[in-house]
């Protein structure tokens, strides 16, 4: 089966939905982070797919954006993990259901 744009988008949508589900439903903050990373990966997949099947595949535009995005995601993951550790130190928990200090 040759990869087509539709297939790529489907995989990307599935990945995004799984990531969203994880971010919305998991209790552990690390898993929420992993969900977010998955959504980011789905977005990167879309960039690459639209570049590969786009009108000018000879210029590596989409892949460059994806590489940048991955670099930023790595930094963001580092910040996110640091936040999780800080939260854990403070509240002795990583359960996002119990981290409700922001309620009005």
């Amino acid at each position: 089966m040759t990869p087509t744009l539709q297939l790529c988008l489907l995989i990307s949508a599935a990945l995004f939905s799984i990531g969203l589900l994880a971010a919305l439903s998991r209790k552990h903050a690390i898993f929420v982070l992993i969900g977010i990373e998955m959504m980011l990966a789905a977005a990167n997949l879309n960039f690459v797919a639209f570049w590969r099947f786009g009108p000018e595949p000879q210029n590596p535009t989409g892949v460059m954006v994806a590489i940048f995005s991955i670099a930023i995601a790595a930094a963001e993951a580092a910040v996110g993990l640091a936040l999780v550790i800080a939260v854990y130190r403070h509240y002795r928990t990583t359960n996002v259901r119990r981290l409700d200090q922001l309620k009005g």
């Binding site: 971010a23 996002v96 409700d100 309620k103 009005g104």
Partner: protein
């Protein structure tokens, strides 16, 4: 030297003023320092006065003055200055010399007083103010110093403020003289309005010289009378004399300094100073304003002599005699005897200070007893006081030949005898002389002769610091007569700017026998009446009703209490009523209108605006509560909401396209 002094004549009052300020800055316990400063200040002023006196001797009648601009107000330059003429020089010498001995006396008299230093500060201040009056060459400067004299007298009369009577007397003195000063001030304004200058002498441009006098013209009578009202207030002339006897509430040296020798002299001095205003347009030496001066003087003099006859307080008798002598001086000025009046003023300064200090010595010796009916027999206990007092008494009564008062009084009688308008003042003055001799004899007999009564049982002679000034002043009273006699009328010629010539036959004049006769009559009558006087006054026993009338000062105080004071009290009540009911009511009405509008506004606020705001707030609050339910703090819920929102946006976009 002399021109320097004339330009700096202000130093004469400035020295005592500086002494006064220095004393005020001393601690209350530095008594010796205060006395030293006061006396040094006075001695320095005396030396300066002598230095100022010398140039006036060189040329008789020469007048020096020094003017300068005080400040410029728009187009008007207010100029003041000082003048040095025989009148000023004579007054300067008298004030500083008599004042000096009063200061020395005070050191003994006030020795036990708590506020000793303040007393000397006030005395020096008073002396400075009075010297300022004398040197002023501007009616404005004179008025300023005049008011300072009033202030000083107020401070000194109320010196024993713990006595309510002293406080009341000070207020009375201040207010009564202020009534006169109001007229004086109006006179100043009038004079300034018509001449444009208040300088007395200014090379022919002053208000007492040619052009200035011409500019005053017909209004001179009114100006002179207004100025005279100030003089009458200060010099205790009827009807403003009421304050002077009450002012005896002050310590005795104050009475001597202010109410005998100097301050009350200010009024007479003022009239003499502005005499050209009084005499302008005179026919035969008579002008309407001078006639007023004469009659006021006559009334004052006689009235005070009569009242003095029935007083029991040693100082009050002297106070009334002062009033009477001042009346005499006014008569003298009014009839044209300016030099005679000023001579009497100068001589009176000496012997009245002597008498007051003598009475102070008596009071001190009798442990602050002032009622002459309780004294008696002090002749042997207080020999120095007795001898000096007798000199003063004879000078005041006018015993001829050896006492200064006699010669000057004779001059006054001489001047009034030739008044063309009416011979009455002359005869009334003669009656006044008899009365003066009579009441002074009465006082002498009561205080120094006869039995020792309750108040004089433990009497003692005063210390030398008090008796020495008495001796000096007594000596001066006698010595002064050398320059007053008709044989060598040096002072008279000095004051009127002529040369004195010695002419012994002139000593014997008919007037001498007249005055000898009346004085002998007065003293003889007194000796006969009071020879056997006990506590009860023989005069009182004979004429109780008349005595009561005189004892109560002819009920002038009561008359004022029921007329002027009652009127002002009624006016005050009416004003108070107006204030309380009329103006207050008006204020209440205006206030009520304001309150009404305020109420309306408040109601509108309450029901309109507040209700709207409250409703809005309640709505916002409810909405907030509702929304806060979504704000659970659950991060995933928020994220879910974001997801729902994104999906909704995508669907919306899809629906749009």
């Amino acid at each position: 030297m002399s021109s320097w002094l004339i330009a700096n004549l202000w130093l004469v009052p400035a020295v005592p003023l500086a002494a006064s300020l220095a004393i005020l800055s001393l601690a209350n316990s530095r008594r010796a320092g205060a006395v030293a400063l006061a006396i040094v200040g006075q001695v320095a002023a005396f030396i300066l006065a002598i230095a100022a006196f010398l140039p006036t001797l060189e040329e008789p009648g020469r007048r020096f003055f020094h003017n300068f601009t005080w400040f410029i107000f728009g187009e008007h330059a207010v100029r003041i200055g000082w003048v040095l003429d025989p009148l000023t020089a004579g007054m300067l010498l008298m004030i500083t010399f008599v004042g000096l001995w009063i200061f020395v006396f005070s050191k003994g008299y006030m020795a036990d007083d708590r506020n000793f230093c303040r007393f000397f500060a006030y005395l020096s201040f008073f002396s400075a103010a009075m010297l300022g009056v004398v040197i002023a060459n501007s009616l404005l400067l004179l008025f300023v110093c005049w008011e300072l004299v009033g202030l000083a007298s107020y401070l000194l009369i109320r010196f024993w403020i713990h006595k309510p009577s002293a406080a009341a007397a000070a207020k009375k003195a201040f207010i009564t003289t202020r009534i006169g000063d109001l007229g004086f001030f109006l006179g100043i304004l009038w004079l300034y309005g018509s001449t444009g200058t208040l300088l007395f002498y200014d090379d022919g441009k002053g208000c007492l010289e040619g052009a200035g006098l011409l500019a005053v013209g017909a209004s001179a009578t009114f100006v002179a009378l207004l100025i005279f009202s100030g003089a009458a207030g200060k010099s205790g002339q009827f009807p403003l004399h009421v304050w002077l006897p009450d002012a005896m509430e002050g310590p005795t040296p104050v009475s001597a300094l202010i109410h005998a020798a100097t301050m009350v002299a200010a009024g007479v001095f003022l009239v003499a100073r502005v005499y050209p205003l009084f005499s302008i347009g005179a026919v035969d030496g008579v002008t309407p304003s001078l006639v007023v001066v004469v009659w006021i003087g006559v009334i004052t003099s006689l009235m005070a002599s009569l009242i003095a006859l029935a007083q029991a307080d040693i100082k009050r008798i002297l106070a009334y005699s002062t009033v009477s002598q001042l009346g005499l001086m006014m008569v003298s000025l009014g009839v044209g005897g300016v030099a005679a009046g000023i001579m009497h003023l100068l001589a009176h300064g000496f012997f009245k200070a002597l008498l007051f200090l003598g009475s102070g010595s008596v009071i001190h010796g009798c442990h602050h007893e002032q009622d002459i009916r309780k004294m008696g027999g002090l002749r042997k206990i207080m020999p120095v006081t007795f001898a000096t007092y007798a000199v003063g008494m004879m000078a005041l009564s006018g015993v001829p030949l050896f006492f200064a008062g006699a010669w000057t009084k004779e001059e006054i009688l001489h001047a009034s005898a030739h008044w063309p308008k009416s011979p009455m003042p002359y005869y009334l003055m003669l009656a006044g002389v008899v009365l003066t001799a009579l009441y002074m004899t009465r006082q002498m007999i009561y205080v120094f002769y006869g039995e020792r009564r309750s108040g004089s049982q433990h009497a003692h002679e005063s210390p030398p610091v008090m008796t020495r000034p008495l001796m000096v002043l007594a000596l001066c009273t006698v010595a002064l007569s050398a320059i007053l006699t008709p044989a060598w009328p040096w002072l008279h010629t000095y004051l009127s700017g002529e040369h004195a010539e010695i002419d012994f036959p002139r000593l014997i004049q008919p007037m001498l026998f007249v005055s000898l006769g009346v004085v002998a009559a007065g003293i003889g009558l007194g000796a006969v009446i009071y020879r056997r006087a006990g506590v009860a006054d023989p005069f009182e026993q004979k004429f109780p009703a008349l005595f009561r009338f005189l004892e109560n000062k002819m009920w002038v105080d009561e008359l004022y209490a029921h007329t002027v004071i009652a009127l002002s009290r009624t006016a005050a009540l009416v004003s108070s009523w107006m204030d309380r009911f009329f103006w207050d009511g008006l204020v209440r009405v205006v206030g009520g209108i304001g309150r009404m509008f305020g109420g309306l506004s408040a109601g509108f606020d309450e029901r309109g605006i507040n209700a709207g705001v409250n409703g809005g707030a309640a709505g916002a609050g409810g909405l907030g509560r509702l929304m806060s339910r979504f704000h659970s703090g659950q991060v995933q819920l928020y994220l879910g909401a974001v997801a729902v929102g994104v999906v909704a946006l995508i669907l919306f976009y899809a629906w749009l396209t």
